[in-house]
Amino acid sequence: MPKNRLFDTLNVMFISIFSILCTLPLILIFIVSFTDEKMIQMNGYQLLPEKFSFEAYNLLLFGNTPLYQSYFISILITVIGTTIAVLITGLAGYTLSSMHIKYRNQLAMFFFITMVFNTGIVPWYLISSGLGLQNTIWALIIPSMLFNPFNLFLVRNYMKQIPNTLTEAARIDGANDIYIAFRICFPLSLPVLATITLFYGIGYWNNWFNAIMLVDNEKLYPLQYLLFKLNSEISMIQQMQSMMNTSPTTVLPSESVKMATAILTIGPIVLFYPFLQKYFIKGLLIGSVKE
């Protein structure tokens, strides 16, 4: 069937081109981050620059930059936040999925209502600042990030499939709910727990909303917010420059520094991508199959 063969070839070509086009913008900022600043000023951003330079990374990694501090903050909030969030969600999911809990459906409704009725950012802001979270590390961990009812329902639906006989047998043997949750339900729900770990983790890593709303202290800027500020405030780069004690005659690598910072924030995502992708797709497919 030559016609079919032709279609297959065209199809493979089309999809190849499409996925290359999808990555091209990322490749562009990657290359710009290694481009000599003079070349950028002369020729603009290029996919094939004439001269490469490590100046931007040199400045970012070995200068006295806020990058390390922000990296530290981002890792801290991602690790602490994700750990607590997965624990809270997993435990609640256990209770909501347990057949012997009489009010499990009422509890589900209780969580569900807040999912549908969104009151917006104003009450959110007033409550978060009312709790005294402003300019603390908790401002980046607690509000809107620490628990998401959508993830709760993912966990509940998954745990519902665990055969009742397993948990009942343990209960008859005298095991309490904490034991059953940690020793029976969680080990059997590892895929869904991995999925929500990923959802929460990515959420924390990419979040800058909490920072823009609740944090003014530069020491607390997470990576994404530093990046956001870097693009609008060129003074930040000049600050770095002055800390480096470079002579004022050298060209300020402001464009390449911006792109290098962007690349450095993507780094961990690239590193974890195989894991991310696997459990993300699993989560999507669990999520789209309801009860």
Binding site: C22, I29, L91, N118, D177, W205
Partner: protein
Amino acid sequence: MNEARKRDSIFRELQKNFTAYILVLPAAVYTIIFGYLTMPYMLIAFQKFNYKTGIFGSPWIGFDNFKFFFSSSRAWQITFNTIKLNLLFIVFGTLVALILAILFNELRSRLFSKITQSTILFPHFLSWVVVSYILYSIFSTDYGIANRTLTSLNLSSVNWYSSPEYWTAILVGSSVWKDIGISLVIYLAAITGIDGSYYEAGRIDGANRWQLIRHITIPLLFPTIIILSLLALGKIMYGSFDMIYAIVKDNGLLYPTTDVIDTYVFRSLRNIGNPAQAMAIGLYQAVVGFILVYGSNKIVKKINPDNALF
């Protein structure tokens, strides 16, 4: 009598499964604080709110905040922009994902399919701030690829960041680019879920590949398409703040086509510092948003009860 018995049974249930209810407590407390306790704050939309006196001490002013908002021309502009952008995101997102899913399904090599899916899904994991950098590298007036290409073709360069007319398309493009991978995965799963015997029957009847797609794949995907679109329609009043604010920031020149309710509310709250005004707009958004979620869910329920949210 009945009441007392009911209370008694609640008490007994709590006592019997005390540990299990303790396990759900952290999530419940969180939901009370950041869910239910936010609701009374909506009332400040009817107040001249003062941070010092709080919700109990601020004077009530009726609908003044709403009047102020709806009498400005901005009200209609941001409502229009929010709905316009979301509709375009839905239409183009669905269309591109559908075409891609059908093409992906025809691929013979699983390895090739996996690798290309991975590439297309990747941008979803980036933050909008990173995406704003990418857009900047393309549209920056001095260094951007777009202008360099235009000048090399002897065309005059464009001041992208001060020309609002281009940004509807740019935003739709970025949204499709970033999130197409998810819809692709969902549609591809829906296609894989189609019973193989339909295709077998079609092939026996002598249908070619295009006919199989047209008369089997597309019609059987229709429920999925409608449900995903309706669920997205329910959220049409919520423009994603993350996206618009990361890309546009406080660039007033671009507001005519890019300013949405969420960014406007943000500015009223943070830049202008008027929470009551911001809440009035937020309340308008929440009420219309809720009606839309409720309405679209009702339609979804009619089509396929399993896919309804509630």
